[in-house]
Every structure is written in structure tokens, then in C-alpha cells.
């Protein structure tokens, strides 16, 4: 019976076998390829979001700007926020997590490779769905936090796209969060105890739990908004007794953990980069891990500091002011850990190190301006001014984006096998950090002078002119620095220096294996004996604590000569080692296509909605029923038939 069933499977549910070309990318379940897809896609969205910012800065460069209309400006700032948060910072972090997480814990893939591919396709299609609103009657224009009751009253379909698009993107993040939690808890190499895991892995675990619990809350708010806009419910209709504060509570109960969802991966990256280039272990590893977890816990108790101007009353305001001040403590702990790591180290000023140091310094500024928000009367002055915009860009750009670039420069050789050019990289860094401060520093001054955020023009003679012009010059400097980065990527793609397995003499086990890693990651799953295991395989410390190289053959360090590796193709390799890898699959993509289709269906045509659900159902059906592998990939060593 089982054999007959397997035969039917082969006929109707054959798995894709393409190893190169479009199909290979569209059906891949390899975490490394999915990571690269995530990275590429989010970078494209980064450029789009950046162009939106440049249009806005051009509009605001001089008083009474005439570049865009008010209606277009509203769409631009809304989509800029949504893009940078949901389509850039979050997926860029996911890109690094995807590529690195299994490598860092010594696994061959994530726990659910097909679910991982599904997450990516849902993210891509969700992003395209959100952007399709520009050509289908206007994009979301109610601000990224879409306050009620404006969100239900705005004409057009923009805010409906907002509610549906964010839900689709939420499904991608939720599936990713479940996948990463199970991977981290269940797929660790022997000896990789929780307290031996790299901090980046720890922060991924923390972020995944934050996503897991934060996403359903915004999900409910978005459903309610969708019902309000499409089916005439009155959740957010003050006329019928609906409470606009409910939206604010639900949104920020998600929104504040979301802030940590965006910053914690960057903190993890910096915690990897700084020790590698200071040639010292991370200072206070347990403290930094527990501080990360503490931030996540306390992150659930500070949301109402976004609502100090909403009139919650003195008791609530005081409580949230206190919790907001408290959450600065674990964050400060991390800062001191990073400084302690660099202190006394043999620092190498590589581009990755510079970006990590840039992260720490810019994040301190953003963190301090953040603490000023906890002072309620002060916050009442700052609410909805450029001061807030300045603060949030210091933590999300100066923080997250700088951290992500540190990660890109650090792991680029692991991704692609070639080093980025350091001279061009440093030019990129200095242009970006100068442009960044030139843009967002003046925002604080503008805010204190009383310039409101989200205004599309301002009158001359208010003292805003010079600061706005400076910010615009800064914004274009940032844009130029991104061009420098792209030039670097293109130039080194062909002619870059070969990286080898471990170009930075780094500490964690992803550097044990060749760059780029083979499809199966590790020939043999490493046994972990230390935190920073790879470092301990390379060096012993003498009694004074000075590292000395391990004598060849003196420890269990084993490196495979590069020529030996390059000659073997992945598939021969797998068969030789009897490694069973998950096969590519059509169904993650098929299932993902159904979701935006259902989204359009809700907006335009019930039949399309039904078709979307049908596709999801067919996708799920194929997902369950497809055979585990094509016969060619059968495990030769044991001769076991995988079906």
C-alpha cells in the first residue's frame, strides 16, 4: 500500500529538481538561498523607501515646497514608514538570521525548511501587495500607526491595503518566528548549550518570542479596521461609541515590542562584530544575554509612553514614565558590555567594526533622547514634532541600519566568498555617518522649535529654513553613501579578494566552514565544547591569558583544504556523506500566492477571494502529500528509501 501511494506521489506531486536558474530559486528551501533572497528583496525596498524619503526632503528643503501635493506627501510618509519598518529592517534582520542561524548553532537547516520558504514568499508578495496600491487608486495615507478614527474614515482604498497588507506580512513574520524558535531550541549541535550560543542567536530567540506575542495583537486591530472599512462595523467609530484609544492600545502593545524586534537583531550583530575585531571575548556574556531578555520582558510594559498626549490620567502616565525610565537600565548594561569588550582589545578598525562602533554611539544618542520622552510634561511638548522623528531615526537608522550594515560587511565574505573592498567601505561609512547626523540632528532642533511632523510645507520666517536645508543635504549624502555601497558590491562581485573560510580570524563556528558554505553546511556536525568554539579550536591561552595558536594536530581543529572542497559538487558530497537534505518544493510559493489573491478578493471580487482560499488549500494539500525527496536523492549509505 505504501509503495503504491509513493508511486502516485511521484506522478502527481513530484518535487522540483532544478539546481540552477529561476526554478531553483523559486523552489529552494535552503536557508542560505532564502537568506539571500530576503536580503536582496529588502535592499530593493530599502532603495524604494529611500527614494520616498528623498522626495519628502526635496519637498521640505525650502519653505512652501512644491515638489508634491499634500495627498501624495501623506502617502509618501506613510509608505516610507511602513517600508522601512516592515519591508526593510525586519526582513533584513531575517535575511541575516536565515543565513547565519543554522550555521551558528551547527545545524544543516532550519527546523521547517518549507515553512521558511513560505515566509519569504509571503513577505515578498505582501510587500508587492502593499505597493500595488500606488497604481490601484492610492496608497495608505494615515501614517504608519494609522490612528483611529482617521484610519476608518480616510477615503479610497489606501488604509484597506494597509490593514490587509500588514496582515499578510504578519503571517510571514509569525511563521518565521515559530520556525526560528524551534530551530534554536531543537536543532543545536551537540554541546551547544543555551549559554554557549552566540549572542546573535540569543537575540534571534528573544525577537522571535516578541514577534510571536506581538503580532496577534496588531492582527486583531487590523482585522477590526478591515471590518470597519469594508463591513460597516463600529469598532473605531466614535459616533457609535467606538473608542479610538482601543486602537492606540492595541497598536502600541504591538508597536513598542516592535521597536525591540527591530533593534535586538542589530544588538546581536554588534555583539558578534565587536569581539571579533577587538580580539577579545564578549565582555559579560551572561549580562548581555539577560539584558536582552529583560528588555523583551519590560518592553511589554512601556507601550503607553506613546500615548502620553492622549490623556490617560496621571496614574497611568506616571506608571509608564517609570517603566520607560527603567527599561533604559538593561539597555545601558549592554552599552557598557560593548565598551568593555573594546576596552584593552587589539582593535582592528575594519569597516564592519566602524559600523558597529557607529551603532553604539548613534544608539546612545537615540537612547538618551528616548529617555527624555519618559518625562511626561516634556513629552507633551515633543509629541508629533520633528523631535520624535529625530529620535526614532537615531534608534532605527543610527541603531538598526548601522548594525545591519556592520553585519553585512562582517558576514559578506561568508555569504558570497569574496571580501568587500575596505577602502570603499570606509568611504561608505564616513559618508553615511556624516550624512546621517546632518539629516537627523537638525530634526531635534526643528522639533523643539515647534515644527510638526507630517506637514507637507511650512511658511518662511519660522526659523525652520536653515535646519531643513541642512537635513535635505544630509539625506542626499546618505543616498550617495548607499550608491558607494552598491558600487562596492558590484566591483567586488567579480574582482574582490577571495575570502577563504575565516578572513577575520573570527570566533564563532560559522567561520569553520568554507565561504560560501556548501549546501549541507557542515561535513560533520561539530561538537561544541566552548562558547566561541571556533576560537578555542584555533587558540589556547597561556597562563597570562595571551592567546597562542594551537599546534597543528594538537587539538580537534580540522580544516578542509580549499582545493579539496571546490572539486566536489554539493550533490556528490551529500551522497558521499549520506547527508539527507530537504528537497526543494513548489508548495511554499503556491500557498503564498493565495494570500494576496485573497486580499485583492476582499477588496474587489468575492470570486477572487474564493480562488485565493482554494489556492491556499491546494498548496497545503500538496505540502502534506508531496513525497520527501526525488529518488535520485535517496540516501546511498543506508540504502533507505526515504518514502
Amino acid at each position: 500500500m505504501a509503495t503504491a501511494a509513493a508511486g502516485t506521489d511521484r506522478r502527481y506531486f513530484a518535487r522540483p529538481t532544478a539546481k540552477t536558474g529561476w526554478w531553483a530559486w523559486m523552489t529552494t528551501v535552503d536557508h542560505k538561498k532564502i537568506g539571500i533572497l530576503y536580503g536582496f528583496t529588502s535592499f530593493v525596498f530599502f532603495i524604494i523607501g529611500g527614494i520616498q524619503a528623498l522626495i519628502m526632503r526635496s519637498q521640505l528643503a525650502t519653505p512652501d515646497g512644491e515638489v508634491v501635493s499634500a495627498a501624495m506627501y501623506n502617502q509618501l510618509f506613510t509608505m516610507h514608514g511602513l517600508t522601512m519598518i516592515f519591508l526593510v529592517v525586519m526582513p533584513m534582520g531575517t535575511a541575516l538570521i536565515n543565513f547565519l542561524l543554522p550555521l551558528m548553532i551547527g545545524a544543516r537547516d532550519v527546523a521547517f525548511p518549507r515553512l521558511n520558504a513560505f515566509s519569504y514568499w509571503v513577505f515578498l508578495l505582501g510587500g508587492l501587495f502593499l505597493y500595488s496600491s500606488f497604481i490601484l487608486g492610492g496608497a495608505a495615507d494615515g501614517g504608519w500607526f494609522g490612528y483611529a478614527p482617521l484610519n476608518r474614515e480616510l477615503p479610497g482604498n489606501g488604509m484597506t491595503y494597509y490593514s490587509l497588507g500588514l496582515q499578510i506580512l504578519g503571517i510571514a513574520s509569525l511563521a518565521g518566528a515559530v520556525n526560528f524558535i524551534v530551530t534554536i531550541l531543537n536543532m543545536r549541535a551537540p554541546g551547544m548549550t543555551l549559554m554557549r550560543m552566540p549572542v546573535f542567536v540569543w537575540m534571534t530567540l528573544v525577537v522571535s518570542f516578541l514577534l510571536l506575542f506581538a503580532l496577534p495583537v496588531i492582527g486583531v486591530a487590523l482585522w477590526q479596521l478591515m471590518f470597519d472599512r469594508l463591513f460597516g462595523t463600529s469598532f473605531y467609530d466614535p459616533g457609535a461609541g467606538g473608542d479610538p484609544l482601543l486602537w492606540q492600545h492595541l497598536f502600541w502593545l504591538f508597536g513598542h515590542p516592535e521597536v525591540y524586534i527591530m533593534i535586538l537583531p542589530a544588538m546581536g550583530i554588534v555583539s558578534e562584530v565587536l569581539p571579533a575585531f577587538a580580539r577579545k571575548p564578549l565582555f559579560g556574556y551572561p549580562a548581555i544575554v539577560f539584558a536582552g531578555a529583560a528588555i523583551a520582558f519590560m518592553g511589554w510594559g512601556v507601550w503607553a509612553h506613546h500615548m502620553f498626549a492622549a490623556g490617560l490620567g496621571p496614574v497611568a502616565n506616571s506608571a509608564f514614565a517609570l517603566s520607560t525610565m527603567l527599561i533604559a537600565v538593561p539597555t545601558g548594561v549592554k552599552i557598557f558590555n560593548w565598551i568593555g569588550t573594546i576596552w584593552g582589545g587589539a582593535v582592528r578598525l575594519t569597516t564592519a567594526f566602524l559600523f558597529a562602533a557607529g551603532f553604539v554611539s548613534m544608539f546612545i544618542i537615540g537612547g538618551l533622547s528616548g529617555v527624555t520622552h519618559s518625562i511626561v510634561p516634556h513629552d507633551a511638548q515633543q509629541t508629533d514634532t520633528y523631535y520624535v522623528v529625530g529620535h526614532l531615526h537615531y534608534v532605527l537608522f543610527g541603531g538598526s541600519i548601522f548594525g545591519l550594515f556592520a553585519g553585512l560587511y562582517y558576514w559578506w565574505p561568508k555569504f558570497f566568498g569574496r571580501l568587500l573592498n575596505e577602502r570603499i567601505g570606509k568611504l561608505h561609512f564616513w559618508m553615511m555617518i556624516i550624512g546621517f547626523n546632518l539629516t537627523f540632528g537638525p530634526f531635534h532642533v526643528l522639533g523643539l522649535l515647534g515644527m510638526q511632523r507630517r506637514v507637507y510645507r511650512y511658511a518662511p520666517g519660522l526659523g525652520f529654513d536653515m535646519w531643513n536645508m541642512l537635513a535635505t543635504i544630509g539625506a542626499f549624502t546618505i543616498a550617495l553613501s548607499i550608491v558607494v555601497f552598491l558600487v562596492n558590491a558590484v566591483l567586488t562581485a567579480r574582482r574582490g579578494e577571495q575570502a577563504g573560510a575565516d578572513p577575520w580570524d573570527a570566533r564563532t563556528i560559522e567561520w569553520m566552514i568554507p565561504s560560501p558554505p556548501p549546501e549541507h553546511n557542515f561535513d560533520e556536525i561539530p561538537v561544541i565544547r566552548h562558547r566561541d568554539d571556533w576560537w578555542h579550536r584555533k587558540y589556547i591561552t597561556d597562563p597570562k591569558g595571551t592567546p597562542a595558536p594551537v599546534i597543528a594536530g594538537g587539538a580537534d581543529a580540522r580544516e578542509i583544504p580549499a582545493d579539496e572542497r571546490d572539486n566536489a559538487t554539493a550533490s556528490e558530497d551529500e551522497q558521499a556523506h549520506g547527508i539527507h537534505l530537504p528537497s526543494p518544493s513548489y508548495y511554499p510559493l503556491v500557498t503564498a500566492v493565495g494570500l494576496p489573491m485573497a486580499g485583492y478578493g476582499i477588496l474587489y471580487q468575492p470570486l477572487l477571494l474564493a480562488a485565493g482560499f482554494l489556492i491556499v488549500l491546494v498548496g497545503a494539500f500538496g505540502w502534506v502529500l508531496e513525497p520527501p525527496a526525488e529518488p535520485a536523492r535517496r540516501d546511498r549509505r543506508t540504502g533507505a528509501e526515504p518514502a
Binding site: V178, V220, F227, T233, S234
Partner: protein, 199 residues
């Protein structure tokens, strides 16, 4: 799910914690669902008395009827346990019977909900009547949708079992669907208490 495939013809894959991957994923997902229903229930509590000129909860709720359909749903957890126990004792036929019974009880509950909604609409409580009615229909509607998805999964397992497609460790998918099913039942206990029983 891929772990399920890896398990075909091979011993259970070793995991760091010893807990099966799919089971851990299901627990994690259900943790997320708690916050989903928590938010919906909070909304309902906020709007319970915001009925405008429409009917109030005391006007429309039929506690005896809902108690019976709640009882039906709770009994479905019992049949679910019996299904799992049957397959663990190596009796797929009994398992299929119990799973079908579970699906039937689930469908009965959904049918009761449709009847209840229809009655409410006839009594003047529609989705659009007031924030109270919106919150009520969306909360209970989402629960009904969860039950419906559960029924689809139950029938899927029955079908796969009939065609011999559950693989050597056939208790595993039954256990996973069971986890989901029990969770949906527990959520209903909370909803029934908070929405119907507390005035």
C-alpha cells in the same frame, strides 16, 4: 512538516530538547493564539455595554441553548482523546471513527453558532448595530472559524488514514491536530464564561 518526512522509515530525529519539532511549533503557535483571542476578548469586554440603541447582551443571549452547544464542543475533546488513544493502541479503524465523531460534534457546534447568529440578526443585532455587536460577532466568529479549520484538519487526517498515508508514526499527526482541537475548546470555555455567563 519536513521533520515528519524525515521520520518516514527512520527513527525519530533527535532534537536538543527531546521535544518533537512539530509539537514544539504547535505549542509556540498556540501561545501566539492566546494573545489573538486575548485581544478579541479585551475588545469585547471594553464594548460590552456600548450597545447604543441596539439590543443588549441580556436581550439576545439564550444561555440554555449556548450551554448545550458548549457541552457538545466539550464532548468533542473527549472523542479526540479516544481517537488518539485508539491509534496509540494500534487501531486505525477506531481512530477514524472517533475522529469522524469529533468532526461531527465540531460541525454541530458550528451549526449551533450559525443558528444563534441568525436568531440574533432576526432580533435586530447585526454586525453593524453597535460596537458591542461588532465585538461579539467578530470574537465568536473567529472562534467558529478556528473550529471549522479544525474540522477540516480532522477530516484530512481521516482521509489520509483511510488511504494509508499517515506513515509509520501515525499517532503523531493525530496528536498535533488534537493539541489544536483541545486549545480551541479551552478558548471556548473562556469565551463562554466571559461572554455569556458573566453578566
Amino acid at each position: 512538516m519536513s521533520a515528519a518526512h524525515a521520520a518516514h522509515g527512520a527513527p525519530e530525529p533527535h532534537t536538543s530538547t527531546g521535544v518533537d519539532n512539530v509539537k514544539m511549533a504547535m505549542w509556540t503557535f498556540l501561545g501566539s493564539e492566546c494573545l489573538f483571542f486575548g485581544s478579541l476578548i479585551s475588545t469585547y469586554l471594553l464594548y460590552h455595554d456600548t450597545t447604543g440603541s441596539g439590543p443588549t447582551s441580556a436581550d439576545v443571549y439564550d444561555i440554555p441553548f449556548t450551554s448545550i452547544s458548549s457541552f457538545v464542543l466539550l464532548m468533542s475533546s473527549l472523542t479526540m482523546v479516544l481517537a488518539l488513544s485508539s491509534i496509540q493502541q494500534g487501531n486505525p479503524r477506531a481512530m477514524r471513527i472517533w475522529l469522524t465523531a469529533t468532526a461531527f460534534l465540531g460541525l454541530t457546534f458550528v451549526g449551533g453558532q450559525i443558528f444563534e447568529f441568525t436568531t440574533f440578526v432576526e432580533e435586530g443585532l447585526t454586525l453593524q448595530t453597535s460596537p458591542f455587536s461588532s465585538a461579539f460577532f467578530v470574537l465568536t466568529g473567529f472562534h467558529g472559524a478556528h473550529v471549522t479549520i479544525g474540522v477540516l484538519m480532522l477530516l484530512g487526517v481521516v482521509a489520509m488514514s483511510s488511504f494509508g498515508r499517515l506513515g509509520p508514526d501515525s499517532a503523531r499527526p493525530v496528536e498535533m491536530v488534537g493539541l489544536y482541537w483541545h486549545f480551541v475548546d479551552v478558548v471556548w470555555i473562556v469565551i463562554f464564561t466571559v461572554v455569556y455567563l458573566i453578566p
